[in-house]
Symmetry: D2
Subunit: 135 residues, 4 copies
C-alpha cells in the first residue's frame, strides 16, 4: 500500500481525561476519525461534499484499537494515517498515535465500505477515491 | 408556572471527569438536554417525532449554567426540570442538579424558540406543546 | 464462561447522531463502557471504589467493534454484557447491542488488564473480581 | 479591557452534528474551553502546569451562550477570545464564533474564579495571570 502518511497534530485537551487521570479510550477513535476527515478534505473529498453529492456512502463497519501506553493531558500527539488495505468495495485505514519522542502509544484501525447511496449496496471504490487512497 | 418537576436520575460516569478531577462543565448542558428529551418523550412529544413531522422546530437560542459545587465521579444526581417562563413563541426551561442530600449543585437554563419549519420563522407555541409545558 | 448477561438499556439521544444521520461509531464504545461501569457497580465493585482503594487498576488495552446496522436517533437499545474470556491477568468483555426486535446491531469487545497499582505490573485477577466475572 | 483577541480556528467535525442536522449546542462550550486552554498555553500558563503546580485552581462558576445562527458540518469557524471583565478574584472570558464571512454566529461567556488550591478559598488573581489577561 501507499507509503505516504497523512499527519494530524493534536494536543490532548483538558476534557478528554477520565476518572483514572488518562485519556478515555473511546476518544482515540474520535481523534482517528478527525484525522480521516481532514485527510479526505485535504484531498478535495470532504465528507460533507460526499454526503451532499449523494452518490456513495462510506459507512464504518469495523473499528479497533490497541492501547500501548496511556495518553495524558496536554501531551502533543501526532496521528499518522495510512491505508492498510484496499479491497474491492472496502478499505482499511490505520492510525498510529505517536508522542513527541516518536513512540507509538496506540494503533487504531477503521474499515469502511463503499455503498451505493440509492440502493444501499456495496459498490466498487470510486476511481477518484481510489486515487486518493493509493497516492 | 407549573409546579411539577420532571425528574431524571444519572450517575456521573467515568468518562465525564476532566483533568481537574471533576465533571467538565459542558457535560451538564448535555445532562440537561437529555432530561429535556426524556421529558418530551414521556409526554408523547419525542424530539424524533417532532423532527419527523416537520411542522415546527425548537432551536435552542440561549443556554446558561451556574456551578455551585463541582460534581464528582460516581455521584448520584437528580436533574429536576421545570418550566421557568412561557412566552409567545419561546419557552425557558430550568434544571436543578441535586445530589443525594437534596443540595443544589448547579442550575441550568435553556431557551427554546418555536419555529415554523418551512418558513423558519417564529410561530406561537403549538397548543399540544403548550399543554405539556403548563401541565 | 458465564452464561448470565448483564443488561443495560439506553435510548439513543439527540446529540449522538452524526452528519450522516446515524450514531457516530465511537459512541458505541462509550455505551459499552457505561454498561461495564454499571455492571461493576451492581456487583459492589464500582470503578470509583477501585480507584479509591488504590490496590489495582484495570486499564483497557484493546477495544473493537463490528457495526452490522446503523443505530438511529431515539431507538431503544439493550446492551448485553458478557465475559468472553478470563485470562491470568486480563479479561475480555463482550457487548451485544440489540434493538427492540432482538436483532444484534453491533458487537463490541474490550480487553482489560489487572495491574498492580503501585508497581504498574500485571497481577492475577483479584479473587473478588474473579467471582463477579464468573458468576 | 484588552483589545487583543486570541484566535482559534476550527472546522466543524462530522460527529458534532445532532439529529436536527446542526451543531449540538453544548459543543460550543467545548470549543470555547479549547480556545481558552490554547490561549493559556500560548501564554506559558498551560492548564496542565497550573494543575501540577498546585498553587491555585480556576474553577468555572458560570457559563452562557447566545446562539444566533446554527453552525453546520464542515464550516470553518474562528473563535475569538477576549477578556470581558477582570474582578478581584474572578475573570470573565468572552468568545465570539465567527464564520468565514466574519458574521458572529454565537457568543459565549465563561466566568472563572481564582481559588487558593490548599484552602479552596477565593484569592486575588495571581500577578502573572493578571498580566496575561490584560496584555
Amino acid at each position: 500500500m501507499n507509503q505516504q502518511r497523512y499527519k494530524h497534530q493534536i494536543t490532548i485537551p483538558f476534557q478528554d481525561i477520565d476518572a483514572a487521570g488518562i485519556v478515555f479510550f473511546a476518544h482515540l477513535f474520535r481523534y482517528a476519525h478527525e484525522s480521516y476527515e481532514q485527510f479526505m478534505s485535504a484531498h478535495d473529498h470532504s465528507l460533507a461534499d460526499i454526503l451532499k453529492n449523494g452518490e456513495y456512502l462510506l459507512p464504518l463497519v469495523h473499528a479497533e484499537a490497541d492501547y500501548r501506553q496511556p495518553l495524558r493531558h496536554n501531551e502533543a500527539i501526532t496521528i499518522e494515517l495510512s491505508v492498510k488495505k484496499l479491497g474491492e468495495s472496502s478499505f482499511t485505514l490505520q492510525y498510529h498515535c505517536l508522542d513527541n519522542t516518536e513512540k507509538v502509544r496506540a494503533v487504531i484501525e477503521t474499515v469502511h465500505v463503499t455503498l451505493d447511496a440509492s440502493q444501499k449496496r456495496p459498490m466498487p471504490i470510486p476511481d477518484s477515491l481510489c486515487t486518493i487512497l493509493t497516492s
